[in-house]
Subunit: 450 residues, 2 copies
């Protein structure tokens, strides 16, 4: 069993050899690495060292790297390999990964590269699907069997076929028209008596998705039924491809990152060590949107500037009203966005969700309002002010919670990503509503406050 510390040491040695330009030594060293580790090393190098190392590695080793990098790292790897070398390198790579690579190329390079690939047609077929659909994610590398053969005949067939992927756990039973009829797992094949007809061990409760199914829903199917792969069929039920657990895990991770990032107005491709220029370009647009919404909040306060001029003490409590509303709103929005992603909440649940959240908001709003009112009284000994604060916090907690439910569900109903800048919109509403409640009530009671 390899030791993790030993693996790290190899990685360290490899780094120094690369920086010293000792390519022959380096190549013989890195052949012992797992492609996932080698990919990390390669991506960690500067651009010229990366190109140099990739040029020295055997093409099949380079090909494997493509299977172990994330989508946003593909471009660096492609640039390191060079477009001219791509066809040779991709020859033994799984077709779904090849399709991902092709998608990163310029249109004219796409056609050229496809033409040079043996399996260009398979890959071209995958490219016709939307990138975030089951069709865009699936691989055509699956094994089909006819249910009229026996277990031994199936084993003999597999021995000849030698399916390349070590992920071929399920075998697919299709009819003469290619329609999916059921699955047989390799485990069932191995534990059954050799002369058993395949039809007898075929499982017919298959959980297939269609090529148009969204990748997130496909991933949820895999998760719900504890599967290792999900078959993908077309509208006629003809088996078109298979999505494996490792691809769908990446989908779930990407979708979670996307939701977290979008909620605060970040691009889903943002990484902690993205180049500064890229990060600035990605973050600035939403910050400018946020600036506009902040001026809306400012204008709301502006409606009450005479009230504040009469009682500057009101300004002290503005951050309390805004902050508490923002917190209650983003809490609810976070629950709503995540629950939609996990399939626990849909547009049709809107009334049930609102009813629940408003009950929670009223209870919490009461507790928070009373506590804050008491705190304000102890601090400023002003009864009217304390009552205004308590009331404003109660009302704003309720408004914030409704915004937190309704904005993500509203976006979802409009077929927009429910996470899209949810926090920016929610905090704007809680700021605006909070100031109207607080300063509005204060205006009415200004004689008592001042």
């Amino acid at each position: 069993m390899p030791d993790d510390a030993a693996a790290r040491e190899v990685l360290e040695d490899a780094r120094s050899l690369a920086h010293a330009g000792e390519w022959a030594k380096l190549v013989s060293l890195v052949t012992s690495l797992h492609p996932a580790d080698l990919a990390e090393l390669v991506l960690d190098l500067g651009e010229s060292n990366r190109r140099e190392l990739l040029a020295h590695l055997p093409t099949d080793v380079v090909g494997q790297l493509f299977e172990f990098v994330e989508d946003d790292e593909l471009r660096d790897l492609i640039r390191g390999v060079g477009v001219d070398e791509l066809p040779a390198v991709l020859e033994e790579v799984e077709d779904d990964v090849v399709a991902d690579v092709i998608q990163q190329l310029e249109p004219e390079q796409q056609a050229e590269t496809l033409a040079q690939l043996d399996r260009g047609d398979d890959v071209a077929e995958l490219l016709q699907y939307r990138e975030e659909s089951a069709g865009g994610l699936m691989s055509r590398g699956f094994v089909t069997l006819n249910q009229d053969i026996s277990v031994q005949q199936a084993i003999d067939y597999l021995r000849v076929l030698r399916p390349p992927s070590d992920r071929a756990y399920y075998l697919y039973i299709i009819d003469v028209d290619g329609r999916l009829q059921g699955t047989v797992s390799i485990r069932d094949l191995i534990v059954s008596a050799p002369r058993t007809p395949l039809a007898e061990i075929t499982r017919r409760d298959v959980h297939a998705v269609t090529t148009a199914t969204d990748q997130e829903e496909a991933a949820r199917t895999l998760q719900k039924y504890n599967l290792l792969a999900v078959p993908v069929v077309n509208e006629e039920g003809v088996l078109e491809g298979v999505m494996t657990a490792d691809d769908l895990i990446d989908v779930l991770q990407e979708e979670a990152t996307e939701d977290m990032y979008r909620m605060v107005g970040l691009d889903e491709d943002e990484r902690v060590f993205s180049p500064v220029r890229t990060s600035v370009r990605r973050r600035l647009p939403w910050m400018l949107v946020n600036l506009i919404t902040a001026f809306v909040a400012a204008a709301t306060v502006g409606l009450f500037d005479e009230t504040i001029a009469r009682a500057a003490v009101l300004a002290l409590f503005m951050p309390v009203v805004a902050g508490m509303g923002g917190n209650a709103g983003t809490q609810t929005a976070t629950i709503a966005v995540r629950s939609i992603a996990l399939g626990d909440l849909d547009v049709s649940d809107v009334f049930r969700a609102c009813r629940k959240e408003i009950m929670v908001a009223m209870a919490n709003g009461l507790a928070i309002g009373l506590t804050a009112g008491l705190g304000a009284y102890l601090w400023k000994q002003n009864e009217a002010l304390s009552i205004v604060i308590a009331a404003a916090l109660f009302l704003n907690t309720c408004a914030a919670t409704m915004a937190g439910v309704l904005i993500p569900l509203g976006l979802k109903a409009m077929k927009v990503d429910p996470a899209l800048a949810a926090n920016i919109f929610v905090t704007t509403i809680t700021d605006v509503m909070g100031f109207i409640f607080f300063l509005g009530l204060a205006s009415l009671a200004i004689e008592q406050i001042n």
Copy 2:
């Protein structure tokens, strides 16, 4: 191939039969359902109907349900089955699931239930590990082989053993002391010539984790190397268990939910349709913490109450400074928390991360500050005020960004969850710093502003 719409129809029929109390009809109907769907139906029923239906179902069917529910739904299912019936129901359930069930019971019930299980010892062994460790998550249901036998002998052995799980894709090669030496996949077994010695097709670059490894890291290992299962060894390298992809997918989903929720001060067990009382009890504590931090921000404003009394216009721009700082801070905190979870950022990267983020903050702060200053000038035609706003936004964007990096990394360095209430702390700092920058600068220029 079953049709999704048809499955939904069965589910609908089942619901009405349950509500009508037609148990015999219902039981014969639901035997056609996948356990995952049946579990959904069962959990959807009211408590008394649920108990009734579970009592009418065969024990092995009830047992399967446990494998397809999430941790937070286990308790409802246990209550529905009844503690006395548990041992019979759990007899054929996988040991890791049984361990999860046992953990939900009261201490005295745990011992009693374990004593009645055939595999009580295996389960008791799993229970000794920390719940969120690889040991706490693994199953003892793995197949081991000796490398001195041939492929055909291995197949013959599997035919006799008939490993119960349909997830037995990897077989584990161990030495006489039980130490893990490598893996053989069933696929390799089937495509190799029957007389091949197992040693020849054994893969030795195994990516194992130890029983103490955190479940999140174990999941990352599975994801990085595109595996379907990860073996778990003790400190001597002895194989103790196996974690499968379906369990680790659940881990990744739970951890993502946990991070999203904790950032805004939510309990990770919160669900959109949790009972109102539970939600109130879970959310209120962090809201009270947030209230205290909001009063800190209020006290900061209080330092400048005379300045505000002289120029009430300042109150208008307080939400702009606080809102923009909060947005910049939570953006950075979100990136930091997620990058730590994905293994892209660690405490040792703190200087690199700060350097990058401060560059981004200065560029964005400059753009936002100038735009806001211009906006303020067009609105209020006050040069000093505009300059103060521009400067405060620039400074607060930088401070917010640093807080966004340093708080999650600081929590991580203190071995606390980096996500813990990150947004609440970050927005407090950005409120306080923002008001100090804005109102402090305004105090200095108060003659020009008023």
